[in-house]
């Protein structure tokens, strides 16, 4: 079912007795549950309000991210949280939607500086399990009026309601992007670069590492640091950072737009794992724990968020959570199905989450079983 307005969403929810699968563009195949019916929000599409001078945009949940990017680019603006496109990694087709990005709180390399998708989200409208149209937040940047259900809805993967409309804070596209790229740094050296750069005053917007053999450049790994802003400022900061890391071989300085795009898209979309066989795990840890995570196995890794996000390509029968036991954080299985997608949480958090789902979706019809 593909309703084209909120009213039809209400009718579908009210007339559905059994499990209902909620989808956006359907590009995250792991989030598809077994259900009698599927409700796609792709029919709810379009940017309904855009105020470049206020840095805010309101869009229907099914609006393709590509369309939002186009609308924003015309005013030299963009989404700050750099959402991942899962199609390459998961071999899916379809069109990533803004509702899907919100539902999974999909956040790319700029997470470390500009925040996650949830930090850009100012307001939501959604239909709950009783078929009520509800709203929370709004379209202004500072809003503490009542509880912040906006954050709760972000990342709830359709289990609390069908998100129909989102309002977002956007940001200006900077004049210039510059990347320092070190070839062949070991893990300890890479961490030193990440922590040193992120602890510097130079406002880093990307700190990542791609594995050996990426992009057919050569056989070594690459460690990247990104800065964005006015051109002179970018050049100045890249220079200062090079001085800071004089102990390592000189990095390549990348100011070319296309090359920057290619690097950060590869990080964002975990491209190195796209055509390789195996399960893909996404592990969120304290950045310095990156060393422990990669040290526990010989598997291949893509690292983002200055060490705080480790993607691992593991054989299909390996439970990475068992291997990483004792390291604070969590692992989500993004590709593969031998294990539950989500890391089990402590008993009290589980009880509270269950309680919330029960209130938002009393009949338990939305994406049942997806999050527990």
């Amino acid at each position: 079912m593909k309703p084209i307005d909120e009213k039809s969403v209400v009718e579908i929810v009210q007339s559905t007795a059994g499990p209902l699968q909620i989808v956006g563009g359907g590009t995250r195949s792991k989030d598809l549950v077994t259900a009698d019916k599927t409700l796609s929000v792709a029919g709810l599409s379009g940017v309904s309000l855009y105020e470049p001078g206020a840095l805010t945009l309101v869009a229907q949940a099914g609006t393709p991210i590509a369309e939002i990017n186009r609308v924003l680019a015309a005013e030299r603006q963009r989404l700050a949280f750099e959402p991942m496109d899962h199609r390459g990694l998961l071999s899916t087709s379809g069109e990533p939607t803004i509702g899907g990005a919100v539902a999974a709180n999909v956040s790319g390399p700029r997470r470390i500086q500009a925040g996650a998708c949830r930090d850009s989200l100012l307001g939501v409208r959604f239909v709950d399990g009783a078929g009520r149209i509800l709203k929370n937040g709004g379209r202004v940047m500072k809003n503490v009026t009542g509880y912040d259900l906006v954050k709760l809805m972000a990342g709830s993967r359709g289990t609390l309601g069908v998100v129909t409309e989102v309002s977002l804070k956007v940001q200006a596209i900077p004049e210039c992007t510059g990347t320092l790229a070190w070839s062949g740094l070991g893990w300890a050296a890479a961490l030193k670069v990440f922590s040193g750069a992120l602890g510097s005053p130079y406002d880093i917007t990307g700190a990542a590492r791609l594995p050996e053999g990426w992009g057919n450049r050569d056989e070594s790994s690459w460690t990247f640091i990104r800065v964005e802003g006015l051109e002179n400022s970018v050049k100045y900061r890249l220079g200062e950072l090079q001085k800071t890391f004089a102990e390592f071989p000189a990095p390549k300085v990348i100011l070319d737009h296309e090359e920057n795009q290619q690097i950060w898209q590869s990080v964002r979309n975990v491209s190195p794992f796209g055509d390789k066989v195996g399960n893909v795990w996404r592990t969120s840890v304290k950045p310095t724990d990156m060393i422990s995570v990669v040290g526990k196995s010989d598997y291949e890794h893509v690292v983002d968020w200055g060490g705080g996000l480790v993607w691992t390509l593991a054989p299909e029968d390996v439970d990475l959570r068992q291997i990483l036991k004792g390291i604070e954080g969590y692992s989500t299985l993004v590709r593969g199905d031998a294990f539950p997608s989500f890391e089990p949480e402590n008993a009290i958090v589980t009880r509270l989450s269950e309680g919330l789902r029960q209130k938002f979706d009393p009949r338990g019809i939305f994406n049942p079983g997806l999050m527990g």
Binding site: E51, P52, G53, A54, E75, Q77, S107, R111, A116, R118, D119, I133, L134, N136, G138, V140, M141, K142, N143, V144, T145, G146, Y147, D148, L149, V150, K151, L152, A154, G155, S156, A172, I173, S195, L198, G199, S200, P201, G229, N232, S233, S284, K286, P287, D289, E328, Y330, T332, E343, E345, N346, I348, V349, L352, S353, G355, L356, F360, M371, G372
Partner: protein, 478 residues
């Protein structure tokens, strides 16, 4: 406030005895002359002494207090430093004030991973104080930062002048230790980013102490920028100043702060602090950060935009002394208005594009109500702080002022904004919630409280209109 439960008040001796049995003797305050210290927060127009106050030092003590209060059916009002302008920590006569002021330790400092873990009674400024030796800082900077506690910042999701660039509390909060009303202690989030499952941290932040008591917090810290410098601009028209703000933002420059003051505020401030502000209709203070060259570069672009709007004054700071003078007036604004009269500070947020219209309407309403109003606010994000002047000694003036304030807040909602941008709802805006939210929107929020605090004992009479929350609070009252 709802009528206190006399049956609970009648059990005071027993409740105090039980609390004393689990706490050090100096941690329970029940003498009437001492509980009066907790009768209000910074919204001083409303006062009520609590049944008693408890001042725990550890998470374990908080857990025991809540367990006892839960068993006794006693409402608990959590309190940070008592600086809420919204009455968020106002007690009722049948409630226990749980103050976290003694919980002010730094538990962990980690520069490599850029976080600090503190007990939440620590003040906002003391968090930065703990890390500035290494040139780091905690970004959210509410005006009350010298006094306000992190616990209250989390409860109200506090902002500040610099959140245009760095975000508000929720964007800088990584984890909490939360004690639920039944005494359960739970860790949510931590030094890693984002939630494995539902984002409970996101809903706890800003829940005004109604879901649990946050005793410890993991906060993101940032390296200080190399430098920062403001520029002061004067315009002879509010509307033009508003357009200038919008143009700066559209040009892709991201200042760390854009502050706005109107003529009544400028005049009061000048008389009070003598910062040397020009006598203009609207004044903007725009601050940018970076190295000297980066600052020059950004300020040059801002000046270029400002010149298109025929400013009557452009004063670029060239030294730290000049910067301090530019900020002096802004930082003294509230105190200056307080010298003239009693005032009520509002906190509505509007879309930046509506600034000129809203300022004009506030001016018109000021004439209709016969009460003066000064505007000083964070223009970059549309968070307004109209200050309505009134005379507390004049019968009816407070009520008139409250009615005027409510009209301004309704106007904020009408133009697409909200009732409160950083102060919180508390009791002050509780009954205006129906102007922003439909009954079902409030119901789903209250359903969240049902999950965390089924008996509605934590800060029960706040945030939601009493009528809307009545059936949920009733079991406590009976």
């Amino acid at each position: 406030m709802p009528a206190p439960n006399t049956e609970v008040i009648g059990r005071k001796a027993q409740i105090v005895r039980r609390l004393r049995s689990v706490l050090p003797s100096d941690a329970v305050i029940d003498a009437p002359e001492e509980t009066r210290a907790y009768e209000c927060d910074a919204l001083t127009a409303y006062r009520c002494a609590p049944l008693c106050a408890v001042l725990p030092r550890t998470t374990h003590e908080v857990s025991q207090i809540l367990k006892i209060c839960s068993e006794e059916g006693v409402p608990v009002v959590p309190r940070g430093a008592g600086t809420s302008l919204a009455g968020g920590a106002l007690p009722t006569a049948d409630s226990v004030i749980l103050g976290v002021a003694r919980m002010n330790e730094v538990l962990e400092t980690d520069y490599e991973n850029r976080f600090v873990r503190v007990q939440t009674g620590r003040t906002n400024l003391a968090v930065t104080g703990a890390v500035e030796g290494e040139d780091f800082f905690y970004a959210p900077d509410p005006s009350s930062q010298l006094a306000c506690a992190i616990a209250g910042n989390i409860a109200m999701n506090s902002g500040g002048a610099h959140c245009l660039k760095y975000g508000v509390t929720t964007n800088n909060l990584m984890g909490v230790t939360l004690v639920l009303m039944n005494g359960d202690i739970v860790e949510i989030g931590g030094a890693h980013l984002d939630a494995a499952g539902l984002d409970l941290l996101g809903v706890i932040c800003g829940s005004e102490g109604q879901l649990g008591v946050v005793t410890e917090a993991t906060l993101r810290i940032l390296r200080k920028p190399e430098g920062a410098r403001p520029i002061l601009m004067g315009f002879d028209d509010n509307e033009i100043a508003g357009t200038c703000v919008s143009d700066i933002i559209k040009a892709g420059i991201l200042p760390v702060a854009i502050e706005f003051m109107d003529r009544p505020c400028i005049r009061a401030t000048e008389a009070f602090a003598g910062a040397g502000y020009p006598d203009v209709e609207a004044l903007l203070i725009v601050e940018v950060e970076g190295s000297e060259a980066e600052i020059d570069d950004q300020l040059a672009r801002i000046v270029e935009i400002a010149r298109r709007h025929n400013p009557v004054e452009l004063r670029e700071s060239k030294s730290s002394e000049e910067s301090a003078r530019i900020w002096l007036g802004r930082k003294s604004a509230f105190g200056a208005m307080g010298q003239i009269n009693d005032y009520m500070c509002l906190d509505g947020t509007i879309p930046v594009t509506e600034l000129p219209f809203v300022l004009r309407r506030i001016g018109e309403m000021s004439k209709e109500y016969g009460l003066d109003v000064g505007n000083v606010f964070h223009a970059g994000d549309g968070n307004m702080h109209p200050l309505i002047l009134f005379d507390a000694n004049k019968p009816g003036d407070l009520e008139l002022c409250e009615a005027f304030g409510a009209d301004i807040l309704r106007l904020c909602v009408e133009v697409g904004g909200c009732l409160t941008g950083e102060h919180g709802v508390g009791i002050e805006k509780r009954d205006l919630m129906i102007d922003q939210y439909a009954p079902n929107d409030l119901d789903i929020q209250m359903a969240v409280k049902d999950v965390f605090d089924p008996d509605w004992l934590l800060n029960p009479a706040k945030v939601f209109p009493l009528e809307a929350s009545q059936t949920r609070r009733m079991p406590v009252q009976s």
